[in-house]
């Protein structure tokens, strides 16, 4: 479907990639002397980009699994790499999530960021463009290009505007993710030399022996498992989250982690389906460890951001669990539609987690801006002074715990349901998240929000201003809408997920 080229001969997806980048450069050019103008330019860019991204949903053809809004141009003929963009039902929601989340991020930094504000906004805008590029790239070299380039703004965001241990955290973040990605690059080059192309679809079709698939799977696994992150390579995330400024944490949790999940769906599974089938128990085991063990770890955190960071890892365990359940379900029931259920759940979980964790970090940011502390013990009875904020916080905490009616429920429910089809014990362990998730989030709420006013600092708190109310309200609407009526999202994904399932259940072994 070549409906990509519209304005000025530039396709919609290209606009979504390069418009924020251009906006970011403009913001930098304005300089800190004109910071207030720069803020408005940044907000305008984020808003325009989001509005421009809406047609992705509006004109999306939900009857096909083919890539839509496709753009293709020669880029590096020497490597037969093309500038090839396009979205399907798996990447389109993630693109929308990206363009959407950037708006609250920009607003959240409006007043709080006082040092070098223009660079702050510019970094987020440029990163937005690069992240859209990651989700929209259909050429694996282009994908890698965006995937790595995106590390630079994040590195700077944590390093410049982060907390006291920001240097340690940001270098750890960079090196960890870079190390993982390098192995992916090696695998991509290997396949390029075999297939003669970096096109994702060509790589999907490339026959590979089981040994090759193992190596390639592990190379991808190194990249995506670090990014998502899975136990035991998750240790960079709590550090990065704790030290990052609020906006950085939001983008990390809401979007960057999703790239790992997206990578599994777009690369690891369809390119190495047989290896994925052989190794699915391994991945499922790690996912369940993340769900149970990391859930327990979250329980004992004394730092709010760290607690949410660990809860993110546990939630991402659900994503990898849902994705890799497909093989067991297919073996157990032979039902392809049922096999897609885990992937559906994983996708909903990713979108939902994007909204919920983003909102949770924004809530912590709201409190941190007032108290300059993230320690749970410094708080207590916040709701007495901040009733509106308290209501929002409770709502998002419920969503984080997976309460029915919120978006958190849909994804977890689908994944647990799918795991029942595969193996009772998977379902049993996965379901502990309902207990653990409820325990750590509700306990957090109890200690921070509820109860009597804990100390003099809390007594001086003021409730949300209009700006903060606006961003939390928008996210709350998103969380509830997705929780009460997930059908539009599921509908959009359906053909692509089904196509993916068909791809991964058919062997790629030659001969």
């Amino acid at each position: 479907m070549e409906n990509g080229n519209n304005m000025l001969g530039i396709g919609l997806l290209s606009w979504l990639v390069w418009l924020p980048v251009a906006g970011g450069l403009l913001v930098i050019a304005l300089g800190d002397a004109r910071a207030s103008l720069a803020r408005w330019v940044a907000l305008a860019t984020a808003l325009v980009t989001f509005v421009a991204s809406l047609p992705l949903y509006g004109s999306f053809d939900t009857t096909t699994a083919a890539f839509q809004f496709v753009e293709r141009a020669a880029w590096i003929p020497a490597f037969s790499a093309t500038y090839h963009l396009g979205v399907d039902g798996i990447s389109m929601p993630l693109v929308l999530l990206t363009t959407f989340i950037t708006i609250p991020v920009v607003i959240a930094g409006w007043k709080v960021i006082e040092t070098r504000p223009t660079q702050y906004f510019a970094a987020f805008l440029i990163m937005e463009g690069l992240m859209v590029g990651v989700f929209a790239a259909l050429d694996s070299l282009l994908f890698y290009f965006f995937w790595e380039a995106m590390l630079i703004p994040m590195f700077l965001i944590i390093g410049i505007w982060g907390g006291p241990r920001r240097v340690y955290a940001t270098i750890k973040f960079f090196l960890y993710t870079f190390l993982g990605s390098v192995f992916m690059l090696i695998a991509l080059i290997y396949m390029y030399l075999k297939a003669g192309s970096y096109e994702v679809t060509d790589l999907h079709r490339l026959p590979l022996t089981l040994t090759e698939q193992y190596w390639i799977f592990f190379a991808f696994f190194a990249a995506f498992a670090v990014k998502i992150p899975m136990f035991p390579v998750h240790t960079w995330l709590p550090d990065a989250h704790v030290e990052a400024p609020t906006g950085g944490s939001v983008v990390l949790a809401a979007i960057m982690l999703k790239m790992g999940g997206y990578g599994f769906l777009r690369f690891a599974l369809p390119i190495a389906p047989d290896a994925s089938r052989e190794l699915d128990t391994f991945v499922i085991a790690l996912s369940l460890i993340a769900v149970v063990y990391i859930g327990l770890v979250a329980l004992v955190q004394s730092d709010m951001k760290k607690l949410i960071a660990y809860s993110s890892i546990a939630h991402m365990g659900f994503v990898t669990l849902g994705v890799f359940l497909a093989f067991d379900i297919q073996t157990a029931t032979g039902d392809l539609r049922g096999a897609g259920m885990g992937i559906d759940g994983a996708m909903v979980q990713m979108i939902s987690h994007g909204l919920v964790s983003g909102a949770m970090f924004l809530c912590v940011g709201v409190m941190y801006d007032r108290m300059h502390s993230r320690e749970i013990s410094d708080y207590g009875g916040v709701i007495n002074r901040m009733p509106i904020f308290g209501a929002f916080m409770v709502l998002f905490a419920m969503a984080n715990a997976g309460l029915p009616g919120t978006s958190g429920f849909v994804g977890e429910f689908l994944v647990i349901l799918a795991s029942f089809k595969a193996n009772f014990w998977y379902a049993f362990l996965a379901a502990t998240t309902l207990v653990l998730g409820a325990a750590y989030t509700l306990w957090l709420v109890k200690r921070v929000i509820l109860g009597p006013v804990a100390n003099a600092h809390v007594a001086e708190l003021t409730d949300l201003d209009g700006r903060e109310f606006l961003i939390l309200a928008v996210l709350a609407v998103g969380v509830l809408a997705l929780g009460l009526w997930p059908a539009p999202l599921l509908e959009v994904m359906q053909p692509s997920v089904q196509h993916l399932v068909e791809q991964i259940v058919s062997s790629k072994l030659p001969g």
Binding site: A74, A78, L175, I186, I189
Partner: protein, 479 residues
């Protein structure tokens, strides 16, 4: 065998002929202009370089390989490209250096003459058709560089590093010459084209012996491990403007030396030198990148980074395919472009009495001089091999070339080492952007020079976003 020499037939050698004449002109102009020379010579040199580049483009281009002077001299598209790059990089290096030299009372005519003779040496290597021409070029370049490193007469550390460079360089030249004599003895010819024909099949022990010495010479000129000892000392000890020059244009010569000698003359017995070179390459990668972490001086850190990057260039030769040579050429060009920028930043950040050569001098550079910090950040990320900057494609090219010949171990090793390397490039960014500024003077530089440096960084970004032009150019001149 050859027709009579006419002016027309000499055209391919125009760059060298022009350079010899130009060196004499600059030297004489400098002598006769006296005190006014301070202003005339730098400008005249830049004019000469521009003129030389223009002449090379207009009259010295050859569609294919042309041999002159009974095979001693070779002109081919690769040579033309390398000479043009030599002009370009030298010109840019001189442009960046002027304010630095002026501030330290080093702005003397000899400096420019020595740079031009070094450039001539590079050209001779680039166009060498025989072992002797190659050796003459190597010596011409090396002697000019020794003198340049010692140019600041009053600096003890500069004199010491020049001494080290000279002694070690002399030994390496000796090795090179000895290796050449052995190869000549085994083959009976000095012409590289003849060597390629005569040296085939199983290499004899004598030949291997000769090749060992040649590889030592080549590795020394590159500054590859274990013949890298001079690199950190020279980079640190020499005046920054000289370091800038030593670190950039001569790398082209090193590439040409390796390409003409190993890939050209000894291409049919590649198995012998490839094995040696792969050990040298891996050792350089590991040592360069690991030791760079421990440095406190930026110039020394960049020296070890150079050693690591040379490892990458050599890996292109280890692949031993056309793709591998292409990758090595591309890597060399890209590396020199990036190094020009990063030493340019050092020059522009410094001023009289403040060398800006320590890492700590860059603390909070962002607050003092945002443009310079931005440029340095771009260059550091690029050298680390992170997209969207051009350094990424250079590494990718090398990986691809190695994978294509199934050197998986080398690919994985190089990739892992490059991750280690990222750490110290990030540290520079950390110092500039994350640390509080220190009380350091702001560098002084002409606006035009700052603009040129900005353009240099922009080229690193632009070639990273759209790498095709340079990639296909490298492929074209080698095919």
């Amino acid at each position: 065998m050859q027709a009579a020499i006419t002016l027309q037939s000499l055209a391919p050698a125009l760059p060298e002929i022009f350079m010899v004449a130009a060196i004499c002109v600059v030297l004489l102009a400098d002598v006769f202009a006296g005190a006014a020379a301070r202003r005339i010579t730098p400008t005249l040199t830049l004019v000469v370089i521009a003129l030389g580049a223009a002449l090379t483009i207009l009259h010295a281009q050859v569609p294919e390989r042309v041999v002159l002077f009974s095979g001693m001299y070779v002109a081919d598209p690769l040579g033309t490209l390398l000479k043009l790059l030599g002009f370009l990089f030298t010109g840019v290096a001189l442009l960046y250096s002027r304010a630095y030299l002026e501030a330290r009372n080093l702005l003397k005519g000899e400096y420019y003459v020595l740079v031009l003779t070094a450039l001539l040496g590079i050209f001779v290597i680039v166009s060498a058709g025989s072992l002797l021409t190659l050796y003459i070029g190597v010596e011409l370049l090396a002697l000019s560089l020794y003198a340049l490193v010692a140019f600041d007469r009053d600096s003890g550390i500069a004199a010491e590093s020049a001494m080290k460079y000279f002694v070690l360089g002399a030994i390496a030249s000796g090795c090179l010459l000895y290796g050449m004599s052995l190869v000549y003895g085994m083959s009976g010819s000095l012409l590289l084209a003849d060597l390629a024909v005569r040296l085939q099949g199983e290499a004899s022990l004598g030949l291997i012996m000769g090749i060992v010495f040649l590889v030592v010479g080549v590795a020394f000129k590159f500054g590859a491990v274990p013949f890298h000892m001079w690199v950190p000392d020279v980079y640190q000890g020499a005046p920054s403007s000289v370091t800038l020059f030593v670190a950039t244009a001569p790398k082209i010569a090193s590439f040409a030396l390796a390409f003409r000698l190993l890939a050209g003359g000894l291409g049919q017995v590649a198995g012998t030198w490839m094995q040696m070179l792969s050990i040298v390459a891996i050792a350089s990668l590991v040592l360069g990148n690991v030791v760079a972490i421990a440095q406190t001086s930026l110039k020394r850190m960049l020296a070890y980074s150079a050693i690591g990057n040379v490892g990458f260039i050599l890996l292109g030769f280890v692949a031993g395919t056309e793709q591998g040579y292409e990758a090595a050429l591309y890597y060399t060009v890209v590396y020199v472009l990036m190094t020009l920028g990063s030493f340019g930043v050092i020059l522009l950040a410094s001023r009289a009495g403040f060398e800006a050569s320590e890492l700590d001098d860059y603390k909070g550079l962002h607050a003092r001089d945002p443009l310079l910090a931005l440029i340095m950040m771009v260059l550091m990320f690029s050298t680390a091999g992170i997209p969207p900057f051009v350094g990424f494609w250079a590494k990718l090219q090398i990986f691809q070339a190695l994978w294509a010949v199934n050197q998986m171990a080398l690919v994985v090793c190089a990739a892992a080492v490059s991750v280690i390397g990222v750490f110290y490039y990030l540290r520079v960014v950390k110092l500039m952007y994350f640390d509080a500024p220190t009380e350091a003077p702001r560098g002084f530089a002409h606006r035009g020079v700052r603009f040129a440096l900005g353009l240099n960084a922009f080229a690193v970004l632009a070639l990273g976003l759209l790498p095709e032009s340079l990639l296909s150019l490298c492929a074209k001149v080698l095919s």
